[in-house]
Symmetry: C2
Subunit: 358 residues, 2 copies
Amino acid sequence: MIIAIDAMGGDHAPDSAAAGALQAAAEWSDITIKLVGDEAKLAPLIGEGKPNLQIVHAGEVISGDDEPVRAVRRKKDASMVVAGRMVKEGEADAMISAGNTGALMTTGLLVVGRMNGVERPALAPMIPTLDESGQGTLALDLGANMDAKPEHLAQYALMGSLYREKVHGITNPRVGLLNVGTEPGKGNELTKAAFPLISELPVNFVGNVEARDILDGVCDVLVCDGFAGNILLKALEGTAGAVFKLLKQELTSSFKAKIGAALVMPQLRGLRSKMDYKEHGGAPLLGLNGLVIKAHGSSDAEAIKNAVRQAKIALESQLVSSISSSMQIMVREQKQTDEQDAAYEQENEQISGKRVTD
Amino acid sequence: MIIAIDAMGGDHAPDSAAAGALQAAAEWSDITIKLVGDEAKLAPLIGEGKPNLQIVHAGEVISGDDEPVRAVRRKKDASMVVAGRMVKEGEADAMISAGNTGALMTTGLLVVGRMNGVERPALAPMIPTLDESGQGTLALDLGANMDAKPEHLAQYALMGSLYREKVHGITNPRVGLLNVGTEPGKGNELTKAAFPLISELPVNFVGNVEARDILDGVCDVLVCDGFAGNILLKALEGTAGAVFKLLKQELTSSFKAKIGAALVMPQLRGLRSKMDYKEHGGAPLLGLNGLVIKAHGSSDAEAIKNAVRQAKIALESQLVSSISSSMQIMVREQKQTDEQDAAYEQENEQISGKRVTD
């Protein structure tokens, strides 16, 4: 099992990537880690290294400010692009990057390549939940697909469900559709059209879910278009941030409150970190011809190592080929339905034609 | 100035409507309040009454479970419908209802009627903000228009700006467009097309705003389609609720934390109520041929009285006619632009036609 790590992406690159790679190589001897980036910088960070850790030299770097499509097209020797090419050409089974999200999505699309039948790959981060199980919900798409079609949402439902089953070991994961009400008829044109499509899939569809119930853990997979998903995630993030900020202000407003605040601060910190979606692992890019994981930009060594664990589980559980088979079945069934519809219409036309001429 | 109150809608009807009407009639002698509903029930609640408070009998009631369109069409004698008809026929200058939101929007559309040039009226509640001024932001549309067009969003921008200026006395209110990033090119097809339209309006457009910054008070008017607005509002509500719930749990988890919690509880309660959008006044329905205000379903007498104050300010400031004039200018300019475009195209066709035939 070979996992490529883009060593040059992220706020703490290349240090955290190198340290994380060393930890992962030490923990799992059955994985070979290929650290992709500037050899001159990486070699001293690795030191003596590990037998299952190799450096793959890549001379260029895609930065956070780079325009994604142009950067991926022009910087052929960028660490991110090289890692993507390794997945494409079978030199690696998966890649991990903490770099520019847009560029990584572009690398996925243009270098690794879309899976047959998938129109729009999806970025699927975890949103933390505050219920007892605290298992979080996998939300997709939170990527660049701002104007999704109903069929895209149906594909997200299937891919997300397989991911949670295979990688997180959840039996029969509950799939919810982000909507403005729980009744089936609710929503905008997109969600109203997506609802019956998801209902027909072999997933545990629990129907529409409302934004206010997400944190209570009402579903394991949350299906949404990129626009609505972004509004949701940023609203959760913003509210939690604003509440904690104001709480701090209020708790230092009087002497009595200050003493109280000192006593409850550990609990507040614990709650703050529970709410922090950045601490909830890397986000897979689903619907590609290979495994690509987006680690958070602020990833430290621990986070990189966790992303390797995530990749390892996904690879062991044959995630990508499972998604691929499901997509093929979905596409085939869709084609059959379309053909049946066409045949039916033709027949209908003939019948009505006959009646007219009779 | 005559204000009709639907006395039979809301969780605490008719008591809170009657009590609120009494308070309002006592406070403002220049307003005549017409309390619309079941006379047999209302008369004892009013007792001796006030000279400027009258009961208008209406025999039917629209409940929270009623299907909005059918209820408004069939229950011609429902208190909500009667109040709407009074506005339509000039027997009242404004109406207030704490009843079924969908039915009130339908009453607005079918009974009071749309303003000339407005395709979709908007429901515009306040979202509380946690910045120092705490002025909140008026968000629209949060009604039934799930699939808005760019032109609708532009109209919301103009109507919302006028409302905040006239009713809340904000000079040059900042208008923001809810979006996934602050750069002008960001968004889905809807927001990308709406951006240039809003830029051309005579409003203080501050550009795109992100969901995470709303609570910091980045704008006084937040423009969004009904779907995205619903996701935002429910996410704010849900996160605040979940955080406070968990906070309570955490704060009773140890003896030390319990003592701390007791000391900070007043601050927590204050914060909780700051976050409660239900406490931030009634939501106007903008774009109708008259003033309609939706008071929250759980309104008490105080909330009803506040809604009367809100209506009074709106009426004194000529809100509806201001919006109407702006809409006429907007429609006229749009028509001119369309005609110019058509003339230009025709000319172009003639020129290219000439070239072809030359």
